[in-house]
């Protein structure tokens, strides 16, 4: 560096940036951070502020104020409480079904399937992720509608589908988010060293015991990582309920219904899914599973 002064500095701007990493960092980060904080975080903050505002019941116009009533409503109106509990139940059911399907799939892909079949299955599981969110919802609607595929398939057995209701919402959400669970679980099972299986069977464990005592404990972090997606995506969803749930309402349904009529209530109710997701993320973080995502 001491010889530097011998040269004529032909690139003053570049040298300046090279010598000042802080300036370099700030110039890299300023634009994206201005965007995310200025556009998104400010919007979330304004949403929180709006939750305290008043609304004119006739014109639906909001006016600034400090009013705790919107929050009190969210926690006391029975319909709102019931919807929060129902949504939580749906999101947990979706997560549970995803785990129950992902573990056998992962074991099959990682330990039984031949390499070529494994690759095909990996693509087959990933592909529907990109087939379009709304498209998949209306596809499920077509399958479970009165004159739909499910009733046609089950007619010889004398079974009729339940029609659009909570079980179909759970199925639709499982359909939407299953790959988010299947992929991390499969990857985790593949990473288990094969000699653990040998050791387990040398000690006399049968297949099921090995799965239960060796595989499951080792893939818990992957299951938690996957459940962050299946849980929070289901929790905030409302179009699945709208199109495959009949009269089923979820948290999102109430937020969406209120955003034009009564923005402060919509804003206050938005804090519920935010709180659920943040709590879930914090619990998941404690287990150290988030590093795997």
């Amino acid at each position: 560096m001491s010889t530097k002064s011998d040269f004529k500095d032909s690139r003053p701007i570049s040298s300046f940036f090279l010598r000042k990493p802080k300036v370099r960092l700030i110039s890299l980060l300023s634009l994206p951070m201005t965007w995310i904080v200025g556009v998104y975080i400010v919007s979330l903050f304004l949403l929180l502020i709006t939750a305290f505002w008043n609304v004119d019941p006739f014109t639906s116009r909001v006016s600034p104020g400090f009013n705790l009533e919107n929050f009190i409503m969210v926690f006391t109106v029975p319909a709102y409480i019931a919807t929060s509990i129902r949504t939580l139940f749906i999101a947990l059911s979706v997560t549970a079904i995803c785990v129950l399907l992902a573990v056998p799939l992962g074991i099959y892909m990682a330990k039984i399937a031949k390499p070529w079949l494994r690759n095909i299955l990996a693509v087959a599981i990933t592909l529907p992720l990109w087939a379009g969110y709304l498209v998949k919802i209306i596809a499920m609607r077509l399958v479970f509608t009165e004159e739909g595929f499910f009733n046609w398939l089950m007619a010889p057995l004398g079974i009729r589908g339940p029609g659009f209701s909570i079980p179909i919402v759970i199925l639709t959400l499982t359909y939407l988010w299953f790959p988010y669970m299947a992929l991390p679980v499969y990857t985790a099972i593949r990473q288990i060293p094969p000699n653990l299986f040998d050791a387990s069977s040398d000690m006399g464990a049968k297949g099921f015991t090995t799965v239960y005592r060796v595989v499951i404990p080792l893939i818990v972090p992957a299951i938690i990582a996957g459940s962050v997606f299946t849980f929070s995506l289901s929790l905030g969803d409302y179009l699945a309920a709208r199109f495959t749930g009949g009269a089923t309402q979820m948290i999102g349904s109430i937020i969406a219904a209120n955003i034009n009529l009564n923005p402060p209530v919509a804003a206050a109710y938005s804090m519920i899914p935010i709180a659920f997701v943040v709590i879930y993320l914090m619990v998941a973080r404690r287990t150290g599973s988030l590093e795997r995502m």
């Binding site: 998104y40 099959y108 498209v135 998949k136 905030g236 938005s270």
Partner: protein, 270 residues
């Protein structure tokens, strides 16, 4: 090796077949129904025809919606590519106070439920910006989409930068290249495939998005998913919706396919 009885293996295979059936049947039912001659979708399909495809091709609202979708996705892709790449460079080259926070900020727009993101934007636009005399209109939709697309570009570019050899940049500087010249001739060629892959994923994500769009689209403007949404709400579900849905599947899969190919090409390069 994991020792499983023959019966267990067969049972596991059965579960896998069931999962594949569960994942692909709805899409097949939908795609086949786009060739249903009847106006109302259902199963089994009585007779097939391409009449709804021809109808959709010349139906103006669908064309407008397609144009809007492409415009919004392109805008979001361009903005997200620039912002995502900048963040990726900052996160790669420096360790600084608040790095974890920056990471969370990037992921947050996609981690929070779409309805919350949508309502937050809609609230800002209509309860704050409009009263201040600033009508954001069409651009509001692009702003919202760009925000949750940043993470796609960031993830791809960051993953590539992490595996890049930093000595090359230093060598370039030692040889007298300026920052821009180094970026153009040394750094960019090394990550351009990841950059393109991330940008395509951002395009696909935006093209497919509906919840945030519901709340941020100005009145009377439809994207393709928004158009589907409005049509499905009507009592007699016309088969033409399935045509548009099939188009959405294809147009989201093509960018993803290309991006996978790019990623693979990059693996081979190394």
């Amino acid at each position: 090796m994991l020792r499983l009885s023959r019966l267990t293996r067969v049972a596991l295979g059965g579960v896998v077949l069931f999962i594949l059936f569960f994942m692909y049947t709805p899409l097949m039912v939908l795609i086949l129904n786009s060739f249903n001659e009847s106006q109302i979708s259902g199963w089994p399909i009585e007779s097939f025809s391409t009449k709804w495809w021809e109808f959709a091709r010349s139906y103006q609202p669908i064309r407008d919606a397609l144009l809007n979708s492409v415009l919004v996705a392109t805008g979001a892709m361009v903005i997200a590519s620039i912002l995502g790449t900048l963040v990726a460079f900052a996160m790669k080259g420096f360790s600084f106070f608040g790095k974890g926070t920056v990471n969370i900020l990037i992921v947050l727009p996609i981690a929070l439920p779409g309805v919350v993101t949508g309502v937050a934007f809609s609230n800002t636009y209509s309860n704050f910006l409009t009263p201040m005399g600033f009508n954001i209109g069409y651009f509001g939709m692009i702003v919202a989409h760009s925000t949750f697309c940043i993470v796609m570009v960031f993830n791809n570019v960051f993953a590539r930068l992490r595996r890049m050899n930093p000595n090359l940049q230093e060598a370039s500087a030692d040889l007298g290249a300026g920052l821009w010249q180094t970026f153009r001739l040394v750094t960019f060629p090394q990550f351009r495939t990841s950059f393109a892959a991330g940008a395509l994923l951002a395009f696909a994500l935006s093209f497919d998005e509906v919840v945030v769009t519901i709340f941020t689209a100005p009145p009377g403007v439809d994207t393709l998913p928004l158009w589907i949404l409005k049509e499905v709400g009507r009592p007699n579900q016309a088969s033409v919706v399935n045509v548009v849905a099939t188009v959405v599947i294809l147009l989201s899969l093509i960018p993803v396919y290309i991006s996978q190919r790019l990623a693979r090409a990059q693996e081979d390069e190394r």
